[in-house]
């Protein structure tokens, strides 16, 4: 298992009404370019659902959401690096780690070239564990890596 990546765990399924309610609530959040307001909204979301859904899955989902929003909204290096650090503290597993690496790389290529070496190191880790994946996941991961372009 690569250095920064810990073995992942599965989220509860969406057949679980509490998890479904959390995911739907998360996706209803007002999107705002104001990062502070967005983080505050995430904290409120966490308070609404903590105790109803597994804590580890809740925190990982929130940190993943924050990271994906940060990269997609082309936030500053400070914001994206902090979001990535928070995400990498969770056990991600190969699929989430590959996606985090790809998103980080895309963002770095467009917004912050000084982050490219770190992003490329993550992508290299993904390439290194590709042979260990089952055929289906390898196919998906190869497709993801092939989609990376500056």
């Amino acid at each position: 298992m690569p250095g920064k990546m810990k073995e992942g765990f599965a989220d509860p399924t969406l057949h679980d009404p509490h998890w479904l309610a959390f995911v739907q609530d998360k996706e209803r959040l007002d999107v705002t370019e104001d990062w502070r307001r967005f983080r505050a909204a995430l904290r409120q979301l966490e308070r609404r659902h903590v105790g109803r859904v597994p804590t580890a899955a809740l925190h990982r989902a929130l940190d993943q959401y924050a990271f994906l929003c940060a990269t997609h909204w082309k936030q500053t290096p400070r914001v994206v690096r902090a979001a990535l650090r928070a995400l990498l503290r969770h056990p991600l597993g190969t699929r989430r780690y590959a996606y985090a690496a790809a998103e980080y790389w895309q963002w770095a290529a467009k917004v912050s070239p000084e982050d490219l070496p770190a992003a490329e190191a993550m992508v290299a880790e993904v390439r290194a564990y590709l042979p260990s994946l089952d055929e289906h996941e390898r196919w998906n991961t190869q497709g993801l890596l092939a989609s990376l372009k500056r």
Binding site: L14, Y99, L144
Partner: protein
């Protein structure tokens, strides 16, 4: 006197050009004596352009970089079939995980439908797709 001049001219012309066959060969479209073709003749007579043309014709052609017709189409069909099958596998996993309970990118479309459309277009099942207003919408999967 006039007749004598006409006769002289006539015999003179035949004498210069030789037989009627020789006459055709000299001015007609066929190769001249000692040539394999008109371009060859022209080259032998000192035409650089003709020599260049000869060289181009006799130079071996580089191998065609394109695969034989039909082979690309076959490979493309195979690849798109592979994409379709893998995306359907992931779609089934998405439905199993309850992804049908989540809204898709477009009104009336389920999340699994939207993720499958992305998969078919990009060739892999994503972790998330983005809504029109930039919200990450998770694609349930393995």
């Amino acid at each position: 006197m006039r007749w004598a001049v006409v006769l002289m001219l006539c015999f003179g012309a035949v004498g210069c050009a030789g037989s009627p066959r020789h006459f055709r060969q000299s001015v007609g479209p066929g190769p001249g004596p000692g040539c394999v073709g008109t371009v060859d003749c022209a080259c032998k007579n000192g035409s650089a352009a003709a020599c260049e043309q000869l060289e181009t014709v006799s130079r071996p052609r580089p191998p065609n970089p394109l695969p034989p017709p039909g082979a690309t189409e076959e490979a493309r069909k195979k690849e798109s079939e592979r994409v379709r099958e893998t995306c359907i596998d992931d779609y089934v996993r998405c439905v199993d995980a309850g992804g049908e309970h989540l809204e898709g990118r477009v009104n009336g479309e389920s999340r699994c439908d939207s993720c499958r459309a992305y998969c078919m277009a990009h060739g892999f099942w994503p972790l998330a797709i983005y809504s029109w207003n930039g919200k990450p919408l998770e694609c349930p999967g393995k």
